[in-house]
Symmetry: C2
Subunit: 404 residues, 2 copies
């Protein structure tokens, strides 16, 4: 939803869907630049704006878009009704700026459908049980769209600035292929591992309510076969060993060396980090050599490095650990696929390929359907390329309707 | 509410009131330029924007101000809570763009007062019984303020860009004096006769619920004695013959000449005008000379002249009246005062003074507390000055606490 011209183009597209006879609900975000403009206004009146009032302020961005899109639809002869979070009743908790949706009342939407209307819903916003306006945080409009689709038992189309989900970042690996279908579980791993097409929370919501999500470019119009379908797991999906190789270059690593063996210490360190809002990703504790002292290493987002380092440094002094070492020149490369559940050997293949390239693995973390490794930042691109060659070279393009 | 700097200044003023221990509700309008910006956006997506969606769009202007003022107050250590029309529950009818307030639920406001908070309420907006967002039309924020004061049983301060209500337009008559007190009834006449300090509807609301309204400049800070108090009628007020001499230069006059005496014709003409949204002000029907045909003259706002002329021309053809003559070079000059109720002779004095100046009276309209005349536009200023001299020359300045 960039500009008024873009809104008119979206209206044309919605009209086509409406003309096909489908009941259509559209979830919109703010126009580009609008949220920044509102943040700038807030910074001019307050040094530390209240989160409750930030939500009141920024939620106007989506409200403006709902009104404009409804008007544009009406101009095309499509009856449309804008609805804000408090009108639909998108009930959330009270965590301003990062609220979670608890329930959606679909009655007002269905009433509008019965009257033949397209419903234009403000994304990103909701209302708590005290009628306070809340917002869902980053990627909130996607989450609203998925949650509305779940409430209506409908599919969800998400229009974005890329044309689907790729096996890996095309800027890193020119062989990257678009996936035609991917499971919610895989997409969830890929989203949290650095693929930026969908925010983790919207995928969580799609997984929880089994909502098929069609990710596609807002600039193409090729119908059902374009983009990527993110869907509930299908039997054939386990035949594919690897679906994607996400990479994340926004990682930083902190190591506390020579940690004395104190019960509850890890809880204390990671509790302090969590209290300060630092999200810790991978954690590795080396086996202590002399049975007395160990090394503890973990990763955080690059922007949290300074904060995390300070917290850990304070604890080090207190407990008498030897040293704290930090680096922001690391990256994470992962391999994701439902097939890993039933096929052994993916991890071994991954480590062998990286070793053959002389890429040193600094940390490892695994789940049922993914393996992540931390490597030097300047080796991330090479790691992605050799892994992509290993796991995708023997397969056809995935653009033709299936990635099996 | 011009700019972020202005919002910080308003916050300072609200803080002083709050620090004095008063429970304070502030009703805000949109920042300057904001409403125009939103109208411009609407015009870029639609040739005829839906009124329902215009209300959704423009009501964001006030919402932004509530959030910013609440943040600014918080920065000064004043606990504040923003409330939108749907959160207070300012219930209106469903006439989008010109809705009328039906009821205000004061419970959420009083709850915030009990918690020691300043409440910052979005003016101009409400919600109908289907939860649709409505707006009140021009001067809507003033009306909201008066209605909130009525609900709370409080006084209402209205900050504007002038420092009070004047006996007449100071740009026309340099002798114009600020009124210290004026009755609701007089203010209502003055507002509808061209004094632009307060919109008619906010005064109607103040009259209906006996809300004392203190009109003052947002740039002065002289306390209770500054500005003008618009208050329920007081016994002493009838001692003053004339309180104000409002003038309105946005008038136009239409005359249908040689109208045949057809029953129900006036109803037909003015019904057609009303159907097209033309507000007719004064109407004069001349006695017919030959008992057969008459002249019918009425006034409308200058902007409605072309529309009104077309409607009247169509009816003229149909009924066979002789001619339609229109002029937009007329103006209205009025004399308003509670004292007219009990004192005869004001009208006679008015006509005498105008005649002595050679000013021709084209039309006359009277109510219990006002006399209005239509004169040539280029004679309006002179009429105001001679009438002001006649009715105010013998009185002291009215700035000292009473205009009696």
């Amino acid at each position: 939803m960039g500009t008024p011209e873009r809104i008119r183009a979206v209206a044309e597209r919605v009209k086509r869907t409406h003309d096909e006879g489908a009941s259509t609900a559209v979830v919109v975000s703010a126009m580009s630049g609008e949220t920044n403009r509102l943040f700038e206004l807030a910074s001019q009146v307050s040094s530390a704006p209240l989160t409750r009032e930030m939500d009141v302020l920024v939620s106007t961005g989506e409200q403006v878009t709902t009104a404009l899109l409804s008007m544009a639809l009406h101009d095309l002869g499509v009856p449309a009704l804008s609805l804000q979070g408090h009108q639909v009743r998108i009930a959330t908790d009270s965590a301003h700026g990062r609220a979670r949706i608890r329930a959606i009342d679909k009655s007002r939407i269905e009433e509008a459908f019965d009257a033949g209307k397209v419903v234009v819903i403000a994304g990103f916003q909701g209302i708590d049980d005290q009628q306070n306006i809340t917002t869902l945080g980053r990627g909130g409009s996607d989450t609203t769209a998925v949650a509305i689709a779940a409430a209506l038992g409908a599919d969800c189309e998400i229009y974005t600035d890329v044309d689907g989900v790729y096996t890996t970042d095309p800027r890193i690996c020119s062989d990257a292929r678009k996936l035609a279908r991917v499971s919610h579980e895989e997409m969830l791993e890929m989203a949290s591992l650095g693929a930026k097409v969908l925010q983790t929370r919207s995928v969580e919501c799609a997984l929880r309510f089994s909502v098929p999500v069609h990710v596609r470019s807002s600039f193409d119009d090729k119908g059902e076969l374009s983009g990527t379908w993110v869907v509930p797991e299908e039997a054939s999906m386990e035949e594919v060993l690897v679906s994607g190789i996400p990479a994340d270059k926004n990682q930083a690593k902190i190591t506390m060396q020579g940690v004395p063996d104190i019960p509850g210490l890890a809880g204390r360190i990671f509790g302090s980090l969590a209290d300060d809002g630092v999200v810790v990703d991978m954690i590795v504790q080396n086996v202590s050599v002399d049975g007395d002292r160990t090394d503890l290493t973990f990763t955080v987002g690059k922007t949290d490095l300074d904060k995390a380092k300070k917290i850990v440094e304070d604890i080090r002094e207190e407990i008498g650990a030897n040293n704290v070492v930090a680096s922001d020149s690391v990256g994470k490369v992962s391999v994701v696929g439902l097939g890993m559940r039933s096929h052994a050997g993916v991890a071994a293949d991954m480590f062998k390929v990286l070793a053959a390239e002389g890429i040193n693995i600094q940390m490892i973390s695994t789940s049922e359907i993914k393996i992540s490794v931390i490597v030097e930042l300047d080796q991330v691109d090479r790691a992605v390329n050799v892994l992509h060659k290993k796991f995708f070279a023997d397969r056809e393009g995935t653009d033709s309707g299936t990635n099996a």
